[in-house]
């Protein structure tokens, strides 16, 4: 065991473990992407805010991965094809508008998912009850920036529109059924997500993108271990040091 085991409780198995990996990998990978902003943010307040969100997500990831196995083995020793995160969260940061569009799509989804899980009595309820408070802040952050960029300058509006369009094709995957999260009704989730998203975009003076929500092989692909090209490099960077010292403690 190379990492810190944060739980002594019995590990999840089967479909529930798969669901923990799916949710945990989403949080782990998005946290990593947001961590890439450190030292590059447009304004000092955003250095703090983006790091805050990244830290919340990393905390969620650590709990979820530890429900399945050793958190560090799972983060640093799995091959790219074994990660179960959505393709959306692995997309490169792009400009600030792309990062905000990714946050907007994902935080609204994650907030709905955790809200639902927190109301249930399944294995994720305790985690979700805590995480939903964090995702409420993440959603608010994304919403406020969407309003500022959408209703700011001509440039910010066109950048935000381009970012929303570019990432739109990765949103369909969020509403594919996930094994082990049987209590979640993907269709209802999608409806609530779309309604909330449309509300924000309306206020920002932005239109809901019109393109397809799934590419030729994007539907549910991340959850099945199919990722996009940039993900391989991201994982290589993330895992390099850990893998260079097999068995070492840090």
């Amino acid at each position: 065991m190379t990492g810190t085991d944060t739980t002594d409780t019995a590990r999840l198995t089967g479909a529930t473990a798969a669901a923990a990996l799916a949710l945990g990998d989403d949080a782990l990978i998005l946290s990593h992407r947001l961590g890439e902003w450190a030292g590059h943010a447009p304004v000092l307040e955003e250095e703090v805010a983006l790091a805050n969100i990244a830290l919340d997500l990393l905390g969620q990831a650590r709990i979820l991965l530890s429900l399945v196995g050793d958190e560090d083995e799972l983060a640093f020793l799995r091959e790219e094809r074994s990660f179960r995160n959505l393709q959306l969260v692995e997309q490169p940061n792009g400009d600030f508008a792309h990062t905000i569009a990714r946050q907007l799509y994902f935080s609204f989804y994650q907030h709905e998912v955790y809200g639902e899980l927190a109301r249930g009595d399944g294995p994720f309820a305790p985690l979700a009850a805590k995480a939903v408070k964090e995702t409420a802040y993440h959603r608010d952050h994304a919403e406020q920036w969407t309003l500022r960029l959408g209703d700011g300058t001509e440039e910010s509006r066109s950048r935000m529109r381009a970012a929303l369009d570019a990432l739109w094709k990765f949103t369909g995957e969020m509403f594919q059924p996930v094994d082990g999260l049987d209590g979640l009704d993907p269709a209802a989730l999608e409806q609530r997500w779309l309604a909330a998203l449309t509300g924000v975009l309306d206020r920002a003076g932005l239109d809901l993108p019109q393109g397809p929500r799934t590419g030729a092989w994007a539907a549910g692909a991340g959850r099945q271990g199919l990722h996009t090209e940039s993900f391989g490099r991201m994982v290589a960077e993330m895992q390099h040091l850990h893998r260079s010292h097999p068995g070492a403690s840090w």
């Binding site: 190379t2 990492g3 810190t4 782990l28 990593h32 961590g35 890439e36 450190a38 030292g39 590059h40 943010a41 447009p42 304004v43 000092l44 307040e45 955003e46 250095e47 703090v48 790091a51 805050n52 990244a54 830290l55 990393l58 905390g59 990831a61 650590r62 991965l65 958190e71 560090d72 983060a75 640093f76 400009d95 600030f96 309003l147 500022r148 960029l149 209703d151 700011g152 300058t153 440039e155 910010s156 950048r159 991201m234 960077e237 993330m238 390099h240 040091l241 850990h242 010292h245 068995g247 070492a248 403690s249 840090w250």
Partner: protein
């Protein structure tokens, strides 16, 4: 330090130096200066609305700006390792640390604003090279162990420098420093603990830790600034109680603290002349390469261009974001004003007409 606030208050025509050119106010200026000196000597705190000499204000702005710039430039060498942190626990600690540094930058720029200098103005001076940041950040972080060495040595040196500033004569700076020092001492412990894990780890990890300490030791000693007899701002800063100990005193204090810590870590310090001097009650240490210090300060360090280049790039690439936020805020204000004008005191349109 309310005692030296001019009784005439902020609405009078007093210049920044407390004079308006007449004899009476020239006398007042001299009185204010004398009262200021006495209050500072009595360890009273100066607050933003108090009268203060222009040179005091300028000296504080210079020091606080340099400190704030060091926090935000200092994010870079450590952020360099966030995406490669070797365990999730270490990754969380490192992200939180870099975030703290951004937060320190925020407090310090805000504290400087109490002296009438905006953050934008100070950032422009950083980007144009008119103001400096701590030269230590012009050294590269080449391995993971550098993250630990920065925490232990660089943050350790910073704390030694900064703890006395918690008692600095200028209130907002002193108060900002109290919080900053608490967080810095946490960072230092984390850095020490990171190095300890490496030192007690595999042979390769131990070598990595030793190499990092070898590279960071001397630059850390340089962080206290030039020797006392060559320090340009020291004497006046000490008289004003902005600074309380000389560069050499603080450097000695740091060395005395670091030596036993290095022993506990199982690591050596790269100085053959380092030894306990019974007579002085301090460690003697070897000569610092001041030529290197001045060379790095002048811009010839390994990362000077890279650090300032990244800072400028982030600022320039973020301009459209800041413009958007400002435009949005203006629109919101205008909209609220229009709503109020159309509907004063909550009355409806018909009632108003």
């Amino acid at each position: 330090m309310v005692a030296v606030t001019p009784e005439t208050g902020p609405d009078t025509a007093l210049g920044a130096d407390g004079t308006d050119g007449t004899d009476m106010t020239a006398d007042l200026g001299a009185q204010l200066a004398a009262a200021f000196d006495a209050a500072v000597a009595a360890d009273e705190r100066v607050e933003p609305r108090d009268w203060m000499p222009d040179e005091y204000r300028a000296s504080l702005v210079r020091q606080m700006a340099q400190h704030a710039h060091s926090e935000i430039i200092g994010m870079q060498p450590e952020a360099n390792w966030i995406t490669r942190a070797p365990s999730l626990r270490r990754k969380a600690i490192l992200m939180a640390k870099v975030q703290d540094e951004a937060g320190h930058g925020l407090y310090l720029y805000s504290a400087a604003e109490t002296l009438g200098t905006s953050r934008d103005e100070l950032l422009d001076k950083l980007h144009s090279g008119k103001q400096k940041y701590s030269s230590i950040f012009n050294y590269p972080t080449l391995t993971w162990a550098d993250v630990g060495a920065i925490g232990w040595l660089v943050d350790g040196a910073a704390i030694t420098n900064q703890v006395p500033i918690c008692r600095c004569s200028y209130g907002p700076y002193a108060r900002a420093m109290v919080r900053i020092c608490k967080e810095e001492s946490f960072h230092q412990r984390q850095g020490y603990e990171l190095l300890l894990a490496l030192s007690r780890g595999t042979e390769a990890q131990h070598a990595m830790a030793q190499d990092a300490v070898d590279r960071w030791w001397w630059p850390s000693l340089m962080m206290f600034g030039p020797p006392d007899d060559e320090s340009a701002h020291s004497a006046q800063s000490m008289a004003w109680r902005i600074k309380r100990h000389s560069n050499d005193e603080l450097r000695q204090r740091f060395v005395d603290i670091a030596v036993p810590q290095a022993e506990s870590l199982g690591l050596t310090l790269p100085d053959p002349d380092l030894k306990w001097n019974e007579e002085r009650g301090h460690h003697d240490f070897g000569a610092i390469d001041w030529a290197e210090f001045w060379d790095v300060l002048k811009g010839n360090g390994p990362c000077n261009e890279q650090r300032i280049g990244q800072r400028r790039k982030a600022h320039e690439e973020g301009a459209w974001v800041r413009d958007a936020a400002a435009a949005y805020a203006r629109k919101q204000t205008a909209q609220q004003a229009a709503q109020q004008a159309a509907n004063p005191a909550g009355q409806n349109e018909e009632a108003r007409v």
